[in-house]
């Protein structure tokens, strides 16, 4: 029982990291049909930003801007030309992530580096270490921020319109190109923030993003495209499932179990937890 409880903060904090990563993915995927494999590199960029600054409070906004700017450049230079060809964007962005990873290896060296956590994050309340609590708080802030943006601001409402029906949105006078840029910026920025978060629970290396990106995509698949609720539930579920499967079986079987659960889940809900209703034939 104690082991069960002890595992809880680990599962929740992994879920929180996955959530921050998946928030960006689910919107770029849902809105533009872009499978962005370079998203993992944005996580890495955020983590190295934290490494360079060695100051958590400064690192959060800096990582958001750095990763967001990288996303913006990628969207403008490359992805923009490939809309409507999701599988091609997947391969293109993977090429980008290869280049970025090698760049990180050349700039910072191949070995892992460490980011020193601030002293006010050591310790904890009961079984909850402060650093994991901080990550969860970050995820909550991220979700609330995205929710506020999407439902309470004009730009956000326009974003939702583009997610629901791009052509109709464009005919209503929404500049879909600008909305795409903005979505990409925010989504990539959140990946950067997630990168800062993971520096609190592990070392930083050039291949950091690879570790999370596959799971983050599974969150998008299980949660449903462009669905905030879906992303939250799926990320927490996957984080907990991951940590408990690792705990009860062994680490090597955990991913297989998670995979089987996702496939089983898709038998009941093939399009994820929440589906955007539409009459279009896909």
């Amino acid at each position: 029982m104690t082991a069960f409880v002890n595992q809880l903060p680990i599962g929740l904090s992994i879920g929180a990291v996955l959530l921050l990563i998946a928030l960006g993915l689910t919107f770029t995927f849902g809105q533009m049909g872009v499978i962005n494999m370079a998203h993992g590199s944005f996580i890495m960029a955020g983590a190295y930003t934290a490494y360079l600054l060695q100051d958590l409070v400064l690192a959060l906004p800096a990582a958001f801007l750095v990763a967001g700017a990288m996303g913006l450049v990628l969207e403008r230079l490359a992805i923009r030309h490939l809309y409507g060809r999701p599988l091609d964007t997947l391969l293109l962005t993977w090429g980008v992530s290869l280049v970025l990873q090698q760049l990180a290896r050349d700039l910072f060296g191949a070995p892992n580096v460490q980011v020193s956590a601030p002293s006010w994050l050591s310790g904890g309340v009961g079984i909850l270490p402060y650093n994991r609590l901080f990550i969860m708080g970050l995820a909550v802030a991220g979700v609330v921020g995205v929710w506020f943006y999407l439902t309470r601001t004009g730009l956000g409402r326009r974003t939702q319109a583009v997610v629901q029906n791009r052509q109709l949105a464009a005919t209503s006078g929404i500049d879909t190109g600008r909305i795409d840029m903005l979505t990409f910026f925010i989504g990539s920025g959140l990946a950067g923030v997630a990168g800062v978060a993971v520096t609190l629970i592990g070392p930083v290396g050039p291949a950091l993003g690879d570790y999370y990106i596959v799971d983050a995509f599974l969150v998008v698949v299980a949660g449903g495209l462009g669905q905030l609720r879906g992303a939250v539930l799926a990320a927490l579920g996957l984080g907990l499932l991951n940590s408990y499967a690792e705990f009860w079986s062994d680490a090597s079987l955990a991913k297989v179990i998670v995979f089987a659960v996702i496939i089983a889940f898709l038998q009941i809900r093939p399009q994820g937890m929440f589906v955007l209703r539409s009459r279009a034939l896909t």
Binding site: L91, V99, F217, V256, L266, Q267
Partner: protein, 346 residues
Amino acid sequence: MIRRHLPFATVAVIALVAAPLLLEPFRLGLLAKYLCYAIVALGIGLAWGKGGMLTLGQGVFFGLGGYSMAMYLKLTEAGGAGGGLPDFMVWSGVESLPALWVPFGNPVFALGMAVLGPMAIALILGTLVFRQRVRGAYFAILTQALAAAMVILLVGQQGLTGGTNGMTNFFELFGQDLAEDSTQRGLYLVVASVLGLLYLATRQLVNSRYGRLLVAVRDGEDRVRFLGYDPALVKTVTFAISAGMAGLAGALFVPVVGIISPALLGVVPSLELVVAVAVGGRHALAGAVLGAVVMGYAKTAFSEQFADGWLYLQGALFILVMTLAPKGIAGISRSIAGRLRHARAT
């Protein structure tokens, strides 16, 4: 008739006669390795190019084939099933041969599993996924997750699979010394022939009614369903065929290269093969094969020169191919041929 088969016949003669005569054993071994990858690429060309299923997990099937073969080789070397233990098991402290390993002492079983095992997994996964109309990017993500899970499983089960190091140190295959040049040349001929035969069979398949149905499913799945066909079945069967090809390629790869390890079949190698197909041209089966050989050669050549530069080059190559020439080498050559024909006609 003759003109249609001329390109294939020329390539076949070069591959089967000229290459073994002209290339030194080391280079021939490398070519055999690329041809193994080309078999996987052929399967990807069928599933992705013709069927529209982007599979990012072919490495899993390749690996299952490879591990089946490696298990057989390890067992013959250790003195047959039930006899001695493979070297890595001794190192990991395994005391008796695991039950999973026992049947792999039989070469027919091992080779059968190398092909049928991947096909069975693809059939199950395909049925579960395609029946629910999960497709496109979703399917790609799921296959990628499968590849990631597979690697972690193989690394974790050290006593069964050799962990991160995988299996290596194979000495003989069916009584032939693997270090001998003649054995390697024989293996090369086997790989080249298998590739040639599979290529012809796949081309036949694509030109059959079934192949047309497959392309129709790619271009308009719902229309095919409304016409009374079952697209899920068509896709599942195709996915299984491509998985079987990857498995066979893995089984051939092991004696040729002499190692199988998780690093050869994870997310990255699976994606690399898909990219090779894209570079060669996904819409033409020959393009897929060509792409695998060209990319394999390029990787070796550039890695020999400057190790790190290859990743930059590879990355840049994807970006260029995807933005400028999405149809790959085959697309470029086809449009040149089309222009020439046009010029001649006018």
